[in-house]
Symmetry: C2
Subunit: 254 residues, 2 copies
């Protein structure tokens, strides 16, 4: 069995975020599968077939790519950000576990990428400079009460919180509920960063506070970072402010 | 003021993890500062000065680099992994906040990189495929009881846990204490991944369980990922196993 499937992290969207390894894997693939807007970031080549698909079809996309690889092909599955963070790597593993035995013989490679929280954090300073967590607000795959429990636990224990998938057309109320929930635990002055489409032409990064955060300011392409009581904002007269969380914490910081 | 300071993420250690942006920033810098083993990864150039320093000198290193940039230079500070994750970006922000006013006028750029947990996760499948947290076990900068509280909170709420800095010569007991602590909340069968020096010649990635995890198997270069009750291991007859955490969670998973 010579088939190979590479799950390739494209990073946040600009080619400058691509690693050398991802560039090499994109070049080596005979076929590319992926959510159409991610595939659109990869220049088309006559000798490389392309199979775009819709969002929320991760399972079917992974099965198609695995089936193709099982024919002996070198197949790439492109993923925004890092494939291991709320993206395609888990979907591919799920299908390998439940699919034909032959899929377990494939060479499976996951190629890491810059996930959104790292890109947004870098744009604004170092808000993830201390212990932090990454939490998807999508309740398509888990019940909302579990998300609330995790928000409570993270805020009470003093983790910086990176929120993925804050809203979508089908999930309009989740993010405002999450903000309300976090206000129970964290002070109104807690810094909050909204980072949208980092590295793309329509990039927008904004700093606010938990007290003033407006849930309507987030959309599907937004990553939100909520600080702790230690997180600080540095005003700079001629530059945008920096937001960072100090490396040291003196006590329980919730 | 034309000074510029770029905090550059080198990723886990092999050039294949470098982003195009990091490669460009390394090329553009007139001077490079960093922990000596990280600087050693960057080929020396006659027209680029280098200022290696020891570990645990982050504050002094950041001050020296900022002072150099304030003279109008384009200065790079290299960081292993991602500069924003337990690395140099927060140290630079701390010094900007407390240092001379002129440092606030500098152009500050943070260039994200592949942090260790993403590289280790990619090597083994998708263990971070669901909500997760990143926690440093170093109690140099925070009290141990706060670390225990965070371990409890993360395990009880069902976050996958990435442990940075599990041990060092000066901190021999912290990691075994952390394992004991997690055993109060998680089943012995919970998958645990030890990833050491990923992407380097001495790379070693091992899968075990929380019940069988041996604290002595970790050193300073090890990143540990502790799964949840949902995390699964896929046996593959002709390949190493895959570890992944499914995207879906049915209920509170601690």
């Amino acid at each position: 069995m010579s088939g190979r499937i590479a799950v390739i992290g494209l990073g946040p969207g600009d080619p400058r975020y691509l690693t050398a390894e991802a560039t090499g894997a994109l070049a080596a693939a005979e076929a590319l599968y992926g959510y159409a807007p991610y595939l659109d970031r990869v220049p088309a080549r006559a000798d490389q077939s392309r199979y775009p698909s819709h969002n929320r079809e991760e399972g079917a996309r992974a099965r198609a790519a695995l089936g193709h690889a099982a024919q002996g092909a070198n197949v790439g599955v492109v993923s925004g950000g890092d494939p291991g963070v709320f993206a395609m790597a888990a979907a591919v593993c799920e299908q390998i576990e439940t699919g034909p035995e032959a899929w377990r013989a494939l060479d499976v490679v996951v190629i890491p990428g810059i996930t959104a929280m790292l890109a947004v954090a870098a744009r604004i300073g170092a808000p993830l400079g201390h212990d932090f967590c990454a939490l998807s607000l999508s309740d398509n795959l888990k019940p909302w009460p579990l998300i609330e429990r995790r928000l409570d636990a993270a805020a009470q224990a003093g983790f910086v919180i990176a929120l993925y998938n804050p809203v979508s057309r089908a999930r309009p109320w989740q993010f405002s509920n999450a903000i309300e929930r976090l206000r129970r635990h964290l002070r109104p002055a807690t810094p909050v960063v909204f980072g949208r489409a980092v590295g793309r032409l329509d990039e927008r990064v904004a700093i606010t506070t938990l007290g003033e955060a407006d849930a309507n300011a987030a959309d599907m392409a937004t990553l939100v970072i909520v600080g702790t009581r230690e997180t600080r904002t540095i005003a700079r007269p001629e530059r945008p402010p920096l937001v960072y969380t100090p490396r040291a914490a003196a006590e329980v910081s919730a």
